[in-house]
Amino acid sequence: MQTAVENTSPELTKKDFVSDQAVRWCPGCGDYMILAMMQKAFAQMDNAKENFLSVSGIGCSSRITYYLDTYGVHSIHGRAIAVATGAKLANPDLNVWVFTGDGDCMAIGGNHFIHACRRNADLNIIIFNNKIYGMTKGQSSPTTPEGLKTKTAPEGSHENPFNIGEVAIGAGATFFARVPDNNPKLLEDIMMQAYQHKGTSVIEVLQNCVIFTDGIHEQITGRETKDDNQVLLQHGKPMIFGKEQNIGLKLNGMRLEKFTFDNGTDGSLIHDEEEKDPAMHLALTRMQLPEHPVAMGVIRKVDAQNYSENIHRVIEAEKKKSSFKNVKDLFKSGNTWEIT
């Protein structure tokens, strides 16, 4: 039997989640920040250490399971979410984290991703989005922007990329957040919010690959440009941004539009992450430069049925109703006869 033994273990610290394996990402890789914040966030979570499970697929991102001192599965390409789903259903007391990349999750693992969003089992999925295949050395991924030159699109990509949040919310995700890899405080805060959310939480990290797409997010995340090009969404607060905090968002017909104001917030939209209708969340997710700032923070967080909880509730109810105490009772049910 696996049961959660909560609050009986001594206080955990970040160090408890640092494994003895040497970290082998390229110097300057955005993954280091995600690892550090994950270890920090893990230490704050209300679970016994033996109930943490990290699951990853294949790619640079997926190496992270070796660096986290928890139970971990480094699975196969694209399948981390499927492995994690099986684990969570098997033992609902586990605190399950999936680490994946834009290639692993949105291409080869795309089917598992949309079904995880639909099912809403209590999983946390962190997608390291660097818009390229790193470990296989520079091929286009499903999030590679049009025009970007890659090994498989030497004249520039001419495919339409996925917007991860749009796919997630379109598939029914109940929690979607976006965060740049150079904002540790926001990263940690979102990890904790995902942990508290009952259901599948999807976190897209705009992660910089120093080798193949160095600077790909620079316009959004750069020190000089981030204030004008990001809008940090906060539940119940107006959507305002800009160095002077004087640009807001409003609706013009069916479209979001930015506007500058002089006083107060002048009718800027108020963010409601809990709105069940996904229309506005999708619109916020889709915002792109240069027309709009890129939305950061928790875009969507709604209560909904949670598959991993549901399945065990149904099992308990059926067990209670059943007259079978063990397999013998089952075998003897129905029509049997005796040979003497």
Partner: protein
Amino acid sequence: MTENILTPEMRKVVVRFSGDSGDGMQLTGDMFSQSSGIAGNDLTTIPDFPAEIRAPQGTIGGVSSFQIQIGGTEIYTPGDSVDVLVAMNPAALAANLPILKPGGTIIADVDAFTSKNLKKADYDSNPLEDGSLDEFHVILAPATSLTKEALKHLGLDMQAMTRSKNMFALGVVLYMFSRPLENTIRFIENKFGHKPLLVEANKHAIEAGYNFAESTEVFGRAIVIPPARLPKGTYRNIDGNTAIAWGLLAAAENSGKKLSLSSYPITPASEILHELSARKDMGAIVFQAEDEIAAVCAAIGAAFSGNLSATTTSGPGASLKSEAIGLAVIAELPLVIVNVQRAGPSTGLPTKTEQSDLNQALYGRHGDAPIVVMAASSPDDCFYYSYEAARIAIEHVTPVILLSDTYLASGTSPWRLPENGDLEDIKIPKFEEDSEEWEPFMRDPEYLNRYWMSPGDKGFEHRNGGLEKKENTGNLTYEPLNHEKMTKIRAEKIERIAKRLPGLKVTGSQSGKLLVVGWGSTFGSINTAVTELIEEGEEQVGFVHFNYINPLPENTGEVLEKFDKILVCELNNGQFVNYLRTKFPGYQYLQFNKIQGQPFFTSEIKAEIINTLSK
């Protein structure tokens, strides 16, 4: 007229119930099976129904049949050909006449032989009247009209009354084999107790059929198939898929583990998924995944998390799962993969039986990835081999492939319920000492399995996955010699399981001219053929059957070497025979292959053996 083959002295008989898909032939056959079990007969059944969910009514394509062989001796097959055919319409007659023995009996619902129905079955004239059935004994039973008559006082509509005509036919057959009605009526009450009117209708229809047979004296002599000498115990009829589901439940209970099943629907394996979905009352955690790959990967997640974990599929699904099975091999996780085989390749004949996924089970992975492969050989022993697959997976911390097939999945045979002590205990290979002393790839010195530590086990946090591991510690490494060593350890681990497997037992001659070899679902027909030849005085033939394919039982070589020739019979183009040729070269192997989507007939095997002996 040919002499009636039904005699009071007969020791076994084959009955085939056949009608339109909507005529309830499967239920009728099921009830006759129950009645036969209670009478102490041994039996084997096989359904045969259209692949279409709603085939056109009255046509040959829409015929649904249920065949049963019952006996006062041990019965291992549903029979090659039929002694008694129940034909509820002309199409059922036309479809099954080729397998009715000369001198056999036809019970025909004359009411259904209308010109419209005759036309749908491509009859130019009514075979019940034109003399074309002269070599058979035909019983003209007005099932539809007499059923209506018997039920008219119940106030049912016409359709509901007509629907009970299958019970009329059952009543006729029950009388024919001198069966008391009480047991069957009790079955009806159990099954339809919540619908009293339906119970009444079925009871009256059965009685009407029974009385019709009695009063018209259509059968000269009553037939009593004597009880077979079966081991004492409580029995029930079971099909192969249910037996596999229940084997997993029993293994979960005996190991103290929760059962996780992660599967994707596929013919002919889906019923395992259905049965366990209905077994939430036994705590089964069932996940219908979005695809075959998700199913096996979720099963791996559940195995890592410490549950008894299984995934069920058929050939095409097994192909999709192969990469992930490789992960389970290198991660050394306990996992049961059930492949209920169907005729391939690709979509092939999806509703027909074949044993052609053996090579896939043995070799269908990249890298050197040996795995345990075993095969069940009857609907009821699917229970035992499913339990054994789970036991081996857990105790040796390895993936195990269990092969079944369409024939076992849908056929039934009587199953003696296991009693205390019948099933071997399942010991969980936990590391019992302090976690400080433990490494993720430490091994049991005797069997080389690693220990199965999982989330929830405090102090045993570790990472596992698809990359090669350093011996013992499980840390990642590309060291050349380590990879070679780990590859050999993984192979040796599987080989050592042979030490715990039961040895092969030879039926018939223990040495001599010819050893007949089978594996998996063909046991019934081969065993019957060899046993009949031995009874007929053949002294030079032995028979051995394999349920464990990898590793092979330890005495395999000893058995093979005692015979001049080895005839391997299988439902594929020669996969097991080639495996034996590789493992035990130097013997004279012959092969008998049938690749028609159909099981072996006993008569085919017999003819092949006689033919081989005469060469």
